[in-house]
Amino acid sequence: MRNDYPHEDDWMEEAPRLASLRESMSQGEVPEGYFAELPGKMMARIHALDGDPAPEAIRDADVVLPRPTPGQSNWQLWGVAASVVLLLGLGLIFFLPERELPAGEAIEQRIQVQLTSVSATEIVNEIDIAEVSEDELYAMLGQEAQAALENEMGGMGQQEMLDFLDELELDPADLEGLEFDDAIFNDTNL
């Protein structure tokens, strides 16, 4: 059996029954499952010594998330998705900064806002008609207003104009300094 030392062979020959015991000496009683459980038990003890809460076997294991039952899966999922979208939308509206307008647009918008808070009377008072030329007035009022006035004035005949003056019942003093067509003064009705 062992040839590296001659006395061993002598001993084995002299005590064959003892030689056969070698294997049986490893057959003492060991609690069932002892060797299967020992490595795990030791790793837990080692991790406890190291202050490591989770053994590697658990850390490395895949985490299997619980799967929803068929009845509850779809509507719950869509409900959660809708809530998330709604919250995101509200967040965008209330918390994101307003879109900046180009400079020109912003000024115009601000002027319009200011004008709406001013009454027409105040605007008229601010405008000194005497200092505004006819051309400037037309420029401010626009082409449509110019056309309307010219039409109004142009369409009025002499007789109509005299009737209009009659209605005004002006004093002769009011007419001083005004230049009239000679035809008007020659009219017998004045």
Binding site: R2, H7, W11, F35, A57
Partner: protein
């Protein structure tokens, strides 16, 4: 189970040195060597409970020292050395208990011989145990490692220290003393 059946020793050593793979590798190391170490310890400390304590201490010591394992010796030799030291430490603490155990064994043997008839397997085993128990500590260790664990002299030398020649002499003296013990019985 042998280490070479699952992972080459060198690869296992490398994985033990690497902190990321150490846990798995150490678990594998325990699976590979726990039975050999268990029986090595049990032959010295006798009971399962004591063996379990010593074996666990052996693995704890191995774990603490594994990062500094240089690989000069084989893993098995290194583990045997730790297990042997742990067992001897345990026995020194339990010296009185060990003497009483030996006395119990001898007492049992005395009664069994008085009972008459040829010795059965258990009796032979007990007799051998009693014979080994009479050996000086070093001869006892050498005999057990060589006879039961089937370790090579060089491995035993690595575990216990000393030369191969002195270990051969120790084993020779142990065998002679056991023969004498058995013949006297």
């Amino acid at each position: 189970m042998k280490a070479s059946q699952t992972l080459p020793e060198q690869e296992l050593v490398e994985r033990l040195r690497d902190e990321k793979t150490r846990n798995r590798a150490f678990e594998q190391l325990m699976v590979l060597y726990q039975e050999q170490l268990y029986w090595h310890i049990r032959r010295m400390v006798k009971t399962h409970d004591d063996t379990d304590d010593v074996l666990q201490n052996t693995f704890i010591k191995a774990w603490k020292a594994i990062a500094s394992f240089r690989g000069d010796a084989k893993l098995r030799t290194w583990l045997y050395r730790i297990a042997t030291n742990e067992s001897l430490t345990f026995l020194n603490k339990q010296k009185k208990a060990s003497f009483s155990e030996l006395a119990d064994i001898e007492n049992d043997m005395h009664h069994s011989h008085q009972g008459g008839g040829g010795p059965d397997g258990d009796e032979i085993q007990q007799k051998l145990e009693a014979a080994v128990a009479t050996l000086p500590e070093k001869q006892k260790l050498v005999f057990r490692m060589k006879y039961y664990d089937d370790l090579k002299y060089q491995e035993i030398a690595d575990i216990l220290g000393g030369s191969v020649g002195s270990l051969k002499a120790s084993f020779h003296h142990a065998v002679k003393k056991i023969e004498k013990f058995l013949q006297s019985g």
